[in-house]
Amino acid sequence: MTIEQQSLEQQEPSSTKLALSLAFAGLISGIIIISIFEATLPTITANKARELREAVFKVLPNVTTMQKLQFDNGKLRVRTEKGADENTIYGGYGSQGQFVGYAVEGAGPGFQDTIRVLYGYLPEQRKIVGMEILESRETPGLGDKIFKDMAFVANFDDLAVDPEIKAVKKGTKSTPFEIDSITGATISAKAVVRIINKARVRWEDRLPAPGNEPKLESKKTKDEG
């Protein structure tokens, strides 16, 4: 054993010291992570709320005002509380305050992680008039075409929901309820379709008959948002 090795062994610290140094590093790291989380949370929440508001106006054409609608106790009412949960949808209203359509959020597994989708739905015509991906971690360059490929997004601008939406091979769309899928990203495209179908079925019986939608109460217009 060389002198160097001996001196190294003499310096061997106790397990307590090792555990303590790890615990200390963990503590400091934890404090830093909590601070950065707390510091950025308001901005991140505001960003998300703004994105959602913008998305509502994007998926529902000719809408100037929106309000949150809440489904509880078997009935759709105007939501006055802050925030949103899985029973919240968004009602879009025209310039005269007349009801135009709903913006419904749906989520489900994509190729990599949960995809959150918002779609605009006209209950009277029973069709979808717009789709926006709120959140996704699909493969860059492939799966992310679900929001980057404008031809794919345009599929949802005038889409019948009956009997149910179907993704077909690109270029073979023949009925109003079919969409052209994306070459190389079939799983992501099908995931979007599945999420929308699921959300639509879930909301089918919850929405009031056309004409009985909740009246406009809040005054949150496009410009304010």
């Binding site: 790890l22 992570i33 950025t40 991140i44 992680d113 360059g141 190389g184």
Partner: protein, 218 residues
């Protein structure tokens, strides 16, 4: 952190990362982000800058505390430090540049697993002063950034006909879709490595000839 920037060895520590010891082209490290996020120039740039932040930050910390870090648990401590910086940059990007964060997605948290970063802590920061460690970190991450950017722009130009999202060739250009897909990453990286090795080999041969000529003269 008393270091003279004009000190030739400090500059050397920085420059070596750019070419001689380039983390991607010479050490072939950090291949996961290299291949995954280089399908467009802007993604490559954002990834390079995020890595720069993490590497410089953790190198400085590791070097500053190198005498306090017990040898037996050093790797775990390095990972804790690196992961903290990664979380900071993850939330900062999410708050300030949500669009870029959306693009890079899962690959930001994966910076923790970039072996180039851990490698620099073990091989350099833990043995040198803070000033040198920071210079080395800047050089290495600049080299990484250059490599990412080279790959990203080649792949975006050929695979999408654009650079930074600006269309270059007009409607007549048929994009080489394969360049955007994973194989395109491997092909481009392979060609760049080939070029790098060719240059190095030529340089070595040239130096050998010079030496031979000198000897012949002497």
């Amino acid at each position: 952190m008393a270091i003279n920037i004009k000190d030739p060895s400090a500059v050397q520590e920085m420059m070596k990362g750019l070419w001689r010891d380039n983390p991607v082209f010479v050490q072939v490290l950090g291949m996961c982000p290299m291949l995954a996020v280089t399908n467009s120039a802007i993604n490559a740039l954002a990834m390079g800058l995020a890595t720069l932040f993490v590497l410089v930050g953790s190198s400085a910390l590791v070097s500053a505390f190198k005498n306090l870090i017990p040898k037996q648990v050093r790797i775990s401590l390095y990972i804790v430090i690196i992961a903290t910086f990664v979380t900071v940059i993850d939330y900062t990007l999410l708050a300030l540049f949500p669009a870029i964060h959306k693009e890079l997605g899962a690959f930001i948290p994966l910076i923790v697993a970039n072996c180039m970063i851990l490698g620099r802590q073990e091989a350099f920061a833990a043995k040198h002063t803070v000033g040198f460690a920071v210079m080395d970190a800047i050089g290495m991450s600049a080299g990484f950034l250059i490599a990412l950017f080279a790959l990203g722009s080649v792949r975006e130009i050929l695979g999408n006909g654009s650079l930074f999202g600006i269309d270059l060739f007009g409607a007549g250009f048929e994009p080489w879709v394969i360049m955007i897909l994973p194989p395109g990453g491997f092909i481009t990286l392979g060609l760049i490595l080939l070029f790098f090795n060719w240059v190095t080999e030529r340089k070595t041969r040239f130096l050998e000839q010079v030496v031979a000529a000198e000897q012949a003269k002497g």
